[in-house]
Amino acid sequence: MNKIIKKRILSENVNEYVISAPDVANNANAGQFIILRVDEDGERIPFTIADYDRAAGTITILVQTIGASTYKLSLLKEGECISDFVGPLGNPTDLSKFKHVMLVGGGIGSAVIYPQAKDRHLKGLKCDVIVGARNYDLLTYENEFRANADNLYVMTDDGSYGEKGFVTNKLEELIKAGHPIDCVFAVGPVFMMKAVCDLTRQYGVHTIVSMNSTMVDGTGMCGCCRLTVGGETKYACVDGPEFDGHKVDFMESINRGKFYRELECECYNKEQEKNGKN
């Protein structure tokens, strides 16, 4: 059982949880993820570590309510416990060898790029950040990025805040303007990561992505999270989650991501009905 120390509503569908997990926090690094189960009947769901505090023994995660399990999690309050919490899993992402790093986050993907910004800031390394969201309400971690990034570019699809457009629009503009970039680290919905990689491939800019595959055990046993990278089958849990974005077969990953969507929608609706919400 792991206690929710703090819960913050970031937007209508996105909550930030600070969860007590001293052992996990003790060995956590930027780029890794955790797997949790909300309750005894719960499924195992992976979340990227958005922040960690070794002294306080806590892990921060951002959760977008998209299905039955995340809905159940959204009903929990500060002080309540979740059933299971395991990590840190996967390999850390270390961008310290790159001088000019551009972090690109779409939607909830900000949670993955934020620890990189923080990490670089702490090490005295520079980084620039592009974050995108559908609209202002869905924008997360703006203040956190302001405090850690050298340049922050905010994009919204509807122009309700920052500049109107997609993260790829800003990225292309910066590349064309000769903005120095050795490495792009792009995280967000698979479609967004694909779009970023299609763009940077044209300009020959090295791009790393973090794949959020469906998982069961997350420790290299079941093979559920497999994806094709450079023509080879890889496992996001033990080989990743970061991969060379120019080698990932995104269309296959997009398809695999859809597999349980119908079942998921059914479960979500049932769970909401159970709680009298429609």
Binding site: N27, D41, D217, M221, K258
Partner: protein, 462 residues
């Protein structure tokens, strides 16, 4: 010696079994147990014991049964095997103890040692007294990584000897393959696995869940806190065939399929974990895990389940009993058949196969299957489960490179002591042998336990 026919456990009919996940057989009744125990002639040479990887004193425990001393039988078995209710069910007895029974060929068939062991094990779970661990506690701390058969055995033996044992389990439930891998209808979870684990906790074994050694706690950190470490992390990544279409939706590894069903209870109404249930399912491979996956798919409602295997019936690696049970349950064998491509746009819509014929024997002595020309056909399936083996899990070795591995990626150990290349770090089970049996894993856990206990006694008597 008089010829007497072997007694058989009463098994439920196949068409009834596939409607639920309850066990195939309820085991021997008292009367059948007595009748079967009487068949043992208590050979002085005890060939059966020689066939047992952990050396259970079989004639001795059966003698206890003949004398109606079931508690005595429990005590005899538990000297060598802590988990008789599990081994009685899942051991390949026909290739071990029963293979060597003097009754086998001409005297009515081998004594049903497995079924008798199961009877004794189940009796111990329901009526048996709790074993007591040594009253002398030794100040020696042992960490056991993984709570599968190897880890549970090592933990039990060390605790009984008075050592201070903590098991670290990556999942939220203990049991390893006994929990996530072997289905309920072969090994009931609540009645057997949970109870066996609860008994270990009663004698003082501590279990810490949701902890991945190498990640949550690094090996270096573990070695600072413990005098000895036993690694029983089991098998790892599933092997795929490297044919086109394997990443389509509807293609599972047997590990994933079984874990979703067994560990996450995807078949129970109310479970949040989804599993896709096809109408027509191909299971590629013919080992015990393939039989488990096929029979599970049938229970989830598949109309057709095919075992697709490139060799013949005699070459199938699964236990004869499992193959028979599968056939009784309507599993269709597609032998001498090899998949070449999985078809579909987004989901599986079929599987392209070729027919095979057996050619000259290969290096393993088995006839090498060769493709029959022009035999290509499409098997009409909407789900494929790959069950052709596993590779060692790279997670721990990636994090802790001091552990020596061989060219297959499994941990290298001293066969006498089970010690790895790192002092006081031991290993056993599938992590060392590659995919093998429950009983071999238990044997390795036991052997490591003996070494660890000897080290503890030596250290504490200084």
């Amino acid at each position: 010696m008089v010829k007497t026919e072997r007694n058989h456990q009463v098994i439920r009919p196949g068409d009834v079994r596939i409607k639920d996940f309850a066990e195939v057989s309820n085991g021997f009744t008292y009367e059948l147990m007595k009748s079967e125990a009487e068949r043992c002639i208590n050979c002085k040479t005890a060939p059966c014991t020689k066939g047992c990887p952990v050396g259970v004193k079989i004639p001795q425990f059966i003698t206890c049964l003949q004398n109606d001393d079931i508690e005595g039988a429990v005590r005899v078995i538990k000297i060598d095997n802590n988990l008789p209710s599990i081994c009685g069910r899942v051991c390949p007895q026909e290739k071990q103890c029963e293979e060597l029974c003097v009754r086998k060929l001409k005297l009515g068939g081998s004594v049903a040692i497995g079924a008798l062991e199961r009877y004794v094990g189940d009796y111990a779970l329901t009526n048996g007294k709790v074993a007591t661990s040594s009253t002398t506690k030794l100040n020696y701390k042992v960490a056991v990584v993984g709570s599968g058969p190897a880890g549970l055995t090592c933990a039990a033996d060390c605790t009984m000897a008075g050592l201070d044992v903590t098991i670290y389990e990556a999942f939220h439930k203990a049991g390893g393959v006994l929990t996530y891998g072997i289905p309920e209808f072969r090994l009931p979870k609540d009645f057997i696995v949970k109870k066996e684990i609860a008994k270990l906790e009663e004698i003082g074994v501590k279990i810490v869940y949701n902890t991945v050694i190498g990640k949550t706690i690094k090996m270096e950190q573990l070695l600072e806190r413990f005098d000895a470490v036993f690694i029983g992390t089991g098998a790892g990544l599933p092997v795929f065939m490297n044919i086109a279409g394997e990443n389509l939706n509807g293609v599972y590894s047997a590990n994933e399929f079984l874990t979703r069903v067994n560990l996450m209870k995807a078949y129970v109404v109310g479970s949040d974990t989804p599993v896709y249930c096809g109408k027509s399912v191909a299971v590629c491979g013919a080992g015990n895990v393939a039989m488990d996956a096929a029979r599970t798919a049938k229970r989830l409602g598949a109309e057709h389940v095919f075992i697709v295997y490139r060799r013949g019936r005699d070459e199938m690696p699964a236990r004869a009993e499992e193959i028979e049970h599968a056939i009784e349950e309507g599993i269709e064998l597609r032998l001498l058949t090899n998949p070449t491509e999985i078809l579909g746009e987004t989901r599986v819509t079929g599987m392209k196969c070729v027919e095979m014929e057996l050619g000259a024997p290969d290096a393993s002595g088995r006839c090498r299957p060769v493709v029959k020309e022009g035999s290509e056909f499409i098997l009409d399936v909407d789900q494929v489960i790959m069950s052709i083996g596993t590779r060692p899990n790279p997670l721990l070795v990636n994090e802790y490179s001091a552990l020596e591995i061989n060219k297959w990626g499994t941990l290298v150990v001293n066969e006498e002591t089970q010690e790895t290349s790192v002092d006081n770090v031991f290993a056993g089970g599938d992590a060392v042998t590659g995919a093998a049996t429950v009983i071999l894993a238990m044997g390795a856990g036991k052997q490591a336990g003996e070494t660890i206990i000897a080290r503890a006694i030596a250290k504490c008597s200084k």
